[in-house]
């Protein structure tokens, strides 16, 4: 497997690595989902680090466990075992709730409130009390401007387009200047111009506010915009690298090509195993050197 077993310094030609402990630190992380008799292992004993102050892309096909991993980091996933530290504390620690901004895949906002009313409420949850009213108004106004919805601030969220609603959802996560932003496919269904603007915003947030951003996507061309990549497939980390290093290592022109090459390699190994297992089952012990 290609994932780096050691902690901070990424081997290859990665630019200056994170100084402090990483924003997310996972070892032997396993997640089982489903209730009752047949729990399914969605994430299978993975290890990775998300460096601070950088944009890490979590990429992989739909259903590979990206959302489950993100929920685990945010602390809203049950049945998580292994080590998972977030901002120096175990994931799900109550002290982390105001330090992490989280955007779920489906926009989670109130359709029967206006954009501003939605943000006002979530801001009041983050900074309650009358004393913080001015601060709240400022952060709400800034968050609306960040996602370019100032002209629609008075519109009901339910009347907005799909892309606009997901931007409201993103704006909620930007309230209160979180140290870690966990964004589950924030650019899905957005037009190219908006996608570029949002990526510029992510880079701006990482650069000026020093926030760590973990962003998932199943669109590989977005990988080129990340500082670091975590490639996932079927509940495992296929590779952790910078886009440049990944392209070089897989001798590919794009990250997508590199990802596909890694998938093919993994499939070939897996097939060889199952093939060998099948043969072994049939009693063909001549092939035994292929098995693990």
């Amino acid at each position: 497997m290609m994932n780096n077993p050691q902690a901070p310094p990424p081997d290859d030609s990665a630019p200056p690595a994170a100084p402090a402990p990483p924003a997310v630190h996972a070892r032997g992380l396993t997640v089982r989902r489903g209730t009752g008799r047949s729990p399914r292992t969605v994430i299978d004993s993975i290890a990775f680090d998300v460096p601070r102050g950088r944009i890490t892309g979590l990429l992989g096909p739909s259903g590979c466990g990206k959302s489950t991993l993100m929920r685990s980091i945010v602390g809203t996933q049950a049945h998580v075992t292994g080590t998972l530290d977030v901002l120096g504390r175990p994931a799900g620690h109550p002290g982390l709730r105001s330090r992490i901004g989280y955007v779920t895949q489906a926009p989670s906002v109130y359709d029967d409130l206006t954009v501003r009313q939605n943000l006002d409420y979530f801001a009041a949850v983050l900074h309650p009390g009358r004393a913080a009213a001015d601060r709240r108004r400022d952060t709400v106004t800034r968050a609306i401007a960040d996602v370019d919805l100032t002209s629609r601030a008075g519109a009901l969220a339910g009347n907005l387009s799909g892309g606009q609603r997901s931007r409201v959802s993103l704006a909620v996560a930007l309230l209160g200047t979180p140290e870690l932003l966990v964004l589950d496919e924030p650019t899905v269904g957005l037009d190219p111009v908006l996608r570029r603007d949002l990526w510029n915003l992510f880079h701006d947030i990482a650069a000026t506010r020093g926030a760590t951003i973990l962003v998932s996507s199943h669109v590989m061309d977005e990988a080129e915009r990340c500082h670091d990549l975590l490639l996932m497939r079927e509940g495992r980390i296929l590779a952790q690298d910078t886009p440049d290093a990944l392209r070089t290592r897989t001798r590919s022109a794009t990250v997508e090509e590199g990802f596909l090459r890694l998938v093919d390699e993994a499939n070939a190994t897996a097939n060889a195993h199952t093939h060998a297992d099948a043969l072994a089952d049939a009693g063909a012990d001549a092939k035994s050197e292929v098995t693990r």
Binding site: T76, A78, D112, P128
Partner: protein, 245 residues
């Protein structure tokens, strides 16, 4: 729990409601219209209208708040906003108290309208104080909110949530003493009616109907309804999971 977060939640729920004037109209006007209807159904027997009308003043807020809360919290669960809120520094108690506060306020308005209309326009003959009627109505609304919140955890869709209304409310309605006095029921049913909270809601209304003062029975009824509401609210809080299974 934080008072500021609770009131912010209550204000948010009311703000959501304000964008839905049709629901407000239905919540406030349906009890008024039903009482009016009832008044003329029992045109020839005002005594019957007195007893059934007083009971209904307690039952309407319970049913309305049950429906409204179960759908509202179900929407909160399915839209992902609950997951988002619980990933934020919001206590479960803040959320539940916020809902109870908001729908309690709606219930006060609803009960004021219904009680006022019944007493002064429809000639409902109540011996006790109208404030006590209002108090029972408010406690009933709280109980409805609590039951709705609890039940919404077991509904996967609005379809199922609505079906819980007949399942949870109708048996109580049949056994609460509205249709037949509870002590004339088959003993097993009477025993069951003794443990259902709506029986005490209706009994409390009847106490106000027939006594000038606050009786010991009335106090017992009010305490039981309030305690049931709090118990079910606590159970409802336990159904709010911070973590997705």
């Amino acid at each position: 729990m934080s008072a500021a977060r609770t009131t912010a939640t209550a204000a948010r729920v009311l703000r959501q409601l304000r964008h839905d004037p049709r629901s407000i109209a239905l919540m406030l006007l349906v009890p008024v219209l039903m009482l009016t209807l009832l008044r003329f159904v029992f045109d020839g027997s005002p005594r019957t209208f007195d007893s059934i009308g007083a009971s209904l003043l307690g039952i309407f807020p319970l049913i309305t708040m049950f429906l409204v809360t179960s759908i509202a919290t179900l929407r909160e669960r399915t839209s992902g906003t609950l997951e988002r809120l619980l990933a934020m520094p919001l206590g479960k108690g803040d959320l539940i108290a916020g809902y109870a506060l908001a729908f309690g306020a709606v219930a006060v308005v609803q009960s004021l309208l219904a009680t006022g209309l019944a007493l002064w326009l429809l000639g409902l003959d109540v011996v006790g104080s109208p404030w006590l009627l209002l108090l029972v109505a408010l406690l009933d609304a709280l109980l409805g909110t609590a039951l709705g919140l609890f039940v919404s955890a077991f509904a996967a869709s609005e379809f199922q949530a609505v079906q819980f209304m007949p399942a949870v409310i109708f048996p109580q309605l049949l056994l609460c003493g509205l249709f037949a006095a509870r002590d004339t029921m088959q003993p097993v049913l009477e025993g069951i009616s003794d443990v259902l909270p709506m029986s005490y809601a209706v009994d409390g209304m009847t106490q106000v109907l027939t006594h000038t003062d606050m009786t010991a029975d009335f106090v017992r009824d009010a305490v039981i309804v309030a305690a049931c509401a709090l118990l079910v609210l606590a159970l409802g809080a336990a159904t709010l999971r911070r973590r997705t299974p």
